[in-house]
């Protein structure tokens, strides 16, 4: 079982399979894969959601995802591989928007690393979502204003 040659960090318009992303980090030395799946929910607070429209600055987003992977391997050297795949375009309730897979020989660090990956993704990766529901459209912004290490902006 060799790790596949597929890209580990990808923005795609295609549906995402959790098994397929897990396979990207699999290898003979791996004993634990922790994964996170983001799914489109039917409401935000009181607002009903019909679907979400995701948009990305794909080139930069893939570079930032790779940077998050590098940060993880620096913080948790036991982590052997990370893959993050995010979908763009129109997603209906129940569809998968993002899958993160974190692999290591042993499980302990994989949980923390997986959580770090999704938290960082929501903070720094140039992906946007517009929520479309019966009451109209709204951009959903989770980043609290560019609070990221060493690169504080403008």
């Amino acid at each position: 079982m060799e790790r596949t040659k597929q890209r580990l960090f990808e923005i795609t318009t295609e549906p995402i399979s959790v098994d397929e992303v897990n396979a990207r980090v699999a290898a003979r030395s791996i004993g634990a894969i922790t994964s996170f799946t983001g799914v489109v929910r039917d409401r935000t607070g009181e607002r009903e959601v019909k679907f979400l429209e995701y948009e990305a600055y794909s080139k930069m987003a893939e570079a930032m995802l790779a940077q998050i992977g590098a940060e993880i391997q620096q913080r948790w050297p036991q982590i052997e591989a990370v893959s993050i795949v995010h979908r763009t375009g129109r997603l209906a309730v129940g569809e998968v928007s993002v899958v993160i897979a974190v692999a290591a020989a042993h499980r302990p660090d994989t949980f923390d690393a997986c959580r770090y990956a999704i938290d960082r993704l929501k903070t720094v990766v140039p992906i946007w979502k517009r929520e479309i529901g019966p009451s109209g459209e709204v951009w959903m912004e989770s980043r609290p204003g560019g609070d990221f290490e060493g690169e504080r902006l403008c």
Binding site: Y57, V98, T123, V125, E141, G146, L153, C154
Partner: protein
């Protein structure tokens, strides 16, 4: 020099286009670019809206000097996941 600026999400919507071209003096910085955007497009509230600038696929600090082949983008608050 001419700087082409990619626009996304709420900023793209506010300006009704996904690309704009700015004329900036040689040696202009990211801060100069922001100042120019502010004077040229009153409807853009870059600071209030928390819009960041990316240069060559990385977030850029205000003092970064721009070059005419740079890939520049405005990054409104992100919301992936």
């Amino acid at each position: 020099m001419k700087i082409r600026v990619k626009l996304f999400a709420s900023v793209r919507q506010a300006l009704g286009r996904s690309l704009l071209e700015l004329e900036l003096p040689e040696g202009a910085t990211v801060a100069d670019l922001r100042a120019q955007l502010k004077s040229q497009f009153a409807q853009l509230h870059l600071e209030n809206a928390g819009v960041l600038v990316a240069v060559n696929l990385r977030y850029a600090k205000p003092d970064q000097v721009l070059h005419d082949e740079d890939e520049v983008a405005l990054i409104p608050p992100v919301g992936g996941g």
